[in-house]
């Protein structure tokens, strides 16, 4: 019974992901194919004048650009199914490889920001919720509202001004020091370049989770079971620990998982400010440079990334919440 339920769940989720990817791939392929940006010009760059019409026709034929759009899409989708995402025009290497390399760098950044913003946001939310209506609650709430009105990239610029330009503690941009071979980069160098982008992304991420936790805690503290627990003589931190945290942790963790989309979006902007060589910077370059295979590859990849976050949020509920766990057994 249990295994059947689980396999059914996996099947339905896989089907959901598949239809999602098909829909996204069709949609994004259509969009890109109507773009006025000429892929051949993007590929050849400044030497466009030296390309004869015949050569151009050859490239078009080689890429299949003269075929109807539907068959272009089918060709592309077919090669994706065979594990080939195409070749990046900018990096002159397989798209899958570029994404893999860039994603590792982005992952370090996003993981740190995800954890830090989650932890600090949760704590701030609890403090505000506990002290609802006091000056400290207003302070935290105000801080969060200001943060949610703050553009990520501007915050990044302010961080650069303060820490790199004024204090000189950190380098301005680039994932590693310029002019050094990759194998010579030390871990400290790497961390020094990771710190500011991670800080920026962490600060921005706090607002959402803190406000959510606060609302949830206030709601929980107004619930009848907290009222009854108080009637039973429970109070203070023990009450918060026994009944409050128990009821707000899971929604908070789920929310954090479900916010992978915003995290990715934040990473795109942060990486741009700090010239951090991650996936976000790659998609911007792909877009500006007309690197269609890479652009589409990252679009699909980011869709999967967001999907995985939502899936984890869903599974967490199924594993932890006794009310839902019961239905499963």
């Amino acid at each position: 019974m249990r295994t059947k339920r689980i396999s059914l769940y996996i099947l339905s989720q896989a089907a959901k992901l598949l239809t999602l990817l098909i829909a996204i791939s069709i949609l994004s392929f259509m969009l890109v194919s109507y773009s006025p940006i000429d892929p051949i010009r993007a590929y050849i760059g400044g030497d466009m004048l030296r390309v004869s019409p015949e050569q151009r026709a050859n490239i078009e034929e080689y890429w299949g650009l003269n075929e109807p759009r539907v068959s272009q899409y089918l060709n592309w989708a077919n090669s994706i199914l065979h594990g080939d995402l195409g070749t990046s025009l900018l990096y002159r290497s397989p798209v899958a490889q570029v994404i893999a390399e860039r994603f590792v760098a982005s992952l370090a950044l996003m993981a740190i920001a995800w954890l830090l913003s989650g932890i600090f946001g949760f704590i701030l939310g609890i403090i505000a919720g506990m002290k609802k209506g006091t000056w400290i609650d207003r302070l935290i709430k105000g801080y969060c509202y200001v943060l949610s009105a703050t553009p990520t990239f501007w915050l990044g610029l302010v961080v650069v001004i303060v820490f790199s330009v004024w204090l000189g503690w950190f380098p301005i941009g680039l994932g590693t020091p310029a002019g050094i071979l990759e194998q010579d980069v030390s871990l400290t160098d790497y961390l020094r370049h990771l710190f500011l982008p991670a800080l920026t992304l962490s600060i921005i991420g706090v607002a959402n989770i803190a406000l959510h936790t606060r609302t949830k805690l206030v709601e929980t503290l107004n619930s009848e079971f907290i009222w009854f627990a108080k009637a039973k003589g429970e109070k203070g931190l023990k009450l918060l620990w026994r009944h409050g945290l128990r009821n707000i942790s899971l929604p908070a963790i789920s929310l954090q998982f479900a916010s992978f989309g915003e995290l990715f979006g934040g990473a795109v902007l942060t990486e741009q400010v700090f010239s951090y060589p991650g996936l976000g910077q790659a998609i911007v370059e792909a877009g500006l440079g007309g690197d269609v295979p890479l652009l589409l590859g990252i679009v699909l990849f980011s869709t999967i990334f967001v999907y995985v976050g939502n899936l984890m949020a869903d599974i967490l509920y199924k594993v932890i919440d006794p009310r839902i766990r019961k239905e499963w057994n």
């Binding site: 829909a23 969009l31 001004i161 989309g261 979006g265 741009q272 679009v299 869709t303």
Partner: protein, 286 residues
């Protein structure tokens, strides 16, 4: 005076600054501030933006409150122009998004199948990171004003659609809708006469609360280089240009324009939430 009557009739309302008045005051002040920001951008003549090499690279002073850039242009003037532009793009895109949301939510009242379709479309649009969708659409259209407006308008409807759809579903079960159907009224008539008036408050609040998102995303996408073109005095352009000069210590190029944007977005947030509190105090009392 009506105020005195109120106090007389209800002795408990002794404070002049009760929540209602506070909220109304916040709304009025917000509107005034936003109007001041926008109008001042319009009033600034273009010569204020002209190149003045003698006054270039100067830090904030009484002459130039926000400093000047490497061409000697006054940053305050550029910022105000940028805010006006942000407001304009925000207005246009928030309006378009609201129209899409309204259309789709009314559409979902048609039948179950269409409702499923609408829900699926919402899920599809929120399955990609916002910035990625924006970037893709902007890329497809070739950037520029058209690209930004299309991109933002096409990406900001899902959350409002969800809200309005839920409201439509609630109203749909009401008796008077059934009665109207039996009287042979058309769906269009019912939409205009029953759903629309009911949705109006939500649409108003939703529309205003879309501004912060549309404004921030316009700035972001422009900053990345997919949005408004470099000739336009957009905040995103100003900030992206400032990056080249930060290492030389010209912090004012980035600091003040960004801060002004934060303030503008914050005021919109405040305005939207205050109006919501006034219309629907039970959700607003957080």
């Amino acid at each position: 005076m009506s105020g005195q009557e109120m106090i007389g009739a209800n002795p408990s309302v002794n404070s002049k600054w009760n929540l209602r008045r506070q909220t109304l005051a916040i709304i009025v002040i917000s509107v005034l501030l936003l109007a001041a920001m926008t109008v001042s951008g319009f009033l600034i003549e273009n010569e204020k933006l002209s190149v003045n090499l003698e006054a270039r690279n100067s830090s904030p002073s009484l002459d130039h409150l926000f400093g000047t850039d490497w061409l000697g242009r006054d940053m305050l003037a550029r910022t105000l122009k940028g805010l006006t532009l942000s407001f304009g793009v925000g207005l246009l895109t928030a309006f378009l998004s609201t129209i899409i949301a309204l259309f789709l939510s009314l559409l979902s009242s048609w039948n179950k199948k269409i409702d499923h379709g609408v829900t699926w479309l919402i899920d599809l649009f929120i399955s990609m990171p916002h910035v990625v969708t924006l970037l893709l659409i902007s890329f497809a259209i070739g950037g520029g004003f058209k690209g930004v407006v299309t991109g933002i308008a096409l990406t900001h409807w899902p959350s409002l659609t969800r809200l309005l759809r839920a409201e439509v579903m609630k109203v749909k079960t009401e008796q008077y809708i059934g009665v109207s159907r039996q009287l042979g009224k058309s769906r269009w008539w019912i939409a205009c006469n029953h759903y629309l008036p009911h949705l109006m408050p939500q649409i108003m609040v939703g529309f205003i609360l879309l501004f912060p998102h549309t404004i921030l995303h316009e700035a972001a996408i422009t900053f990345l280089g997919f949005g408004l073109s470099p000739e336009q005095p957009a905040i995103g352009i100003i900030l992206s240009e400032s990056m080249r000069y930060l290492s030389t210590g010209m912090w004012w190029l980035a600091f003040f324009p960004g801060l002004s944007l934060v303030i503008m977005v914050g005021i919109f947030d405040l305005l939207g939430n205050s109006i919501r509190k006034l219309i629907d105090p039970f959700h607003g009392q957080r």
